[in-house]
């Protein structure tokens, strides 16, 4: 059996008295897109923060490509596309600057870009079709373009595991399709993509696999199974109408 791209074993995180994750266990095969489904407060963000090292779990282990997560992060294997509301879009940086930040872990202490760094940024921007907008201040991009800029940062970084937090929130349908095509394309390269989303309609075209999360994993398997009413009811409680939570 191949080494899992991401292996989360019995991870528990609580903030004070509030349990965000309780014994969360899952495993992702490389080269797949996985949808992470759960309502607000189900622990999706906490799970991402644990993988990124922002939150230290009280219990359990996280491994990326068989290595300890901290080691994998230092080896530049993990990238992250933040939720829109977590980004200061007025920040005086261009698209180029943001994508270049993907290379910082590969540079010297002063983060001076080499020719290889510039080439990697250019290539990543072309991959997400933002090369023409490289000089734009990030806030001057559309919702979908903003997401692609952060995906480009992960590509430039050379990460093998890409985490995306609600990438379809505030993005129109056409941009959503563009982003989905891009993520499928990255998975075809052998990268592992984990996407948290409310958007159940997009799930079949987006993901190979789905995970239903409610502080622990309720379901992991094919997308059709995740969309079975009894599974969704368990994940979202009874307040289920039309797909979105």
């Amino acid at each position: 059996m191949t080494t899992p791209a991401l292996e989360i074993d019995n991870v528990s995180v609580s903030y004070g008295e509030v349990a965000a994750l309780t014994g969360c266990t899952l495993s992702l095969a490389p080269g797949q897109v996985t949808g992470l489904i759960g309502m607000n407060g189900s622990g999706k963000s906490t799970l991402f923060k644990s993988i990124m090292g922002v939150v230290a779990p009280q219990m359990g282990t996280i491994r990326v490509d068989g290595a300890d997560a901290a080691k994998a992060r230092r080896a530049q294997r993990v990238s992250y596309v933040p939720q829109s509301e977590d980004v200061d879009w007025d920040f005086p940086l261009s698209v180029w600057d943001v994508v270049m930040m993907g290379r910082y872990g590969l540079m010297g202490p002063m983060r001076r870009p080499s020719r290889a760094d510039r080439a990697a940024v250019e290539e990543a921007l072309e991959r997400v079709e933002l090369a023409d907008l490289a000089g734009r201040q990030i806030g001057q991009l559309s919702g979908g373009q903003r997401k692609r800029a952060f995906v480009a940062r992960g590509i430039a970084q050379g990460a093998s595991l890409m985490l995306l937090d609600e990438p379809f929130a505030g993005v129109d349908k056409r941009s959503e399709r563009t982003i989905i095509a891009l993520l499928r394309d990255l998975a075809a390269d052998g990268r592992t993509v984990l996407v948290s989303t409310h958007d159940l309609h997009a799930l079949p075209s987006l993901a190979d696999e789905a995970i239903l999360l409610l502080r622990r994993v309720l379901y992991q398997g094919d997308v059709a199974g995740a969309l079975e009413p009894e599974n969704l009811t368990r994940a979202f409680g009874l307040a289920l109408g039309g797909g979105a939570a």
Binding site: K49, M52, G53, A70, P82, P92, D97, M110, Q137, Q157
Partner: protein, 296 residues
Amino acid sequence: MSVIDIIVEPLQYDFMVRALIVTVMAAVVCALLSCWLVLVGWSLMGDAVSHAVLPGVVLAYVIGAPFALGALGFGVLAVVLIGVLRGTSRIKEDAAIGIVFTTLFALGLVLVSVIPSQTDLSHILFGNILGVSTSDLWQIGILALVALAVLLFKSRDFTLFAFDPVHAHGIGLNPKRLGWLLLGLLAVVCVVALQVVGVILVVALLIIPGATAYLLTDKFTHMLWIAPLMSSVTAVIGIYLSYWFDASSGGLVVVTQGVAFALVYVFSPRHGLLRTWRQAGRVRNNGAGQHSSNHE
């Protein structure tokens, strides 16, 4: 009297030359630091640390240690206390900042009043730019250079820290350590600027230049030269005004910066008030016809 006389006459006094050198050094390092403070959202933290260093400076004076050391100690103490208060009670951050820095500042006032010294309280509070000695000049110069070197060396890491600390974690950096480094620099820079404008007004030099530059450009690298340029030019103008009108030098430095900010706030070609109004007007005029088609 010609313009040249106005500029040259004060320069025949050594104390004025020293004053101008110290002013420019303080203005430049404060302005550089302010670019990050404004973007991280730490303006209030700048206010807190700059006031909280007072007891540290007084104690350092008493035991004959460098001012910077005392300031650093109390600057760090203030930040720790604020964090502890916020983390272990239901007090919110703005209240925690308010409680900690006023208490430490008041402690400084008490210490100054009971400790006999030649240093005048008003000099610490409001600056003493005309009383800069040659040894002061050296101490301030060395501190400014150290702060400048660290800021430039860590420039890109600080920007990453300000923009996306989660990504900083993700590539194996330690954002917490970067935050502490920035706060430590804040304490050191407070000492540099203390003699120019005094403890109370240091925070102006730590916010106004960065905020002004932020209204002028969308490129962070441009902020890093606009802010120091704006800050040093306005500070020098302030010092000259204080010479010719015989008024508070620290006060005039800050008033001049405030006026420059106000002008930029109104007239900035990028983010000025006038442009924002013009754009809003245009959207209103165009918007009437398109309104219905914008909705699905």
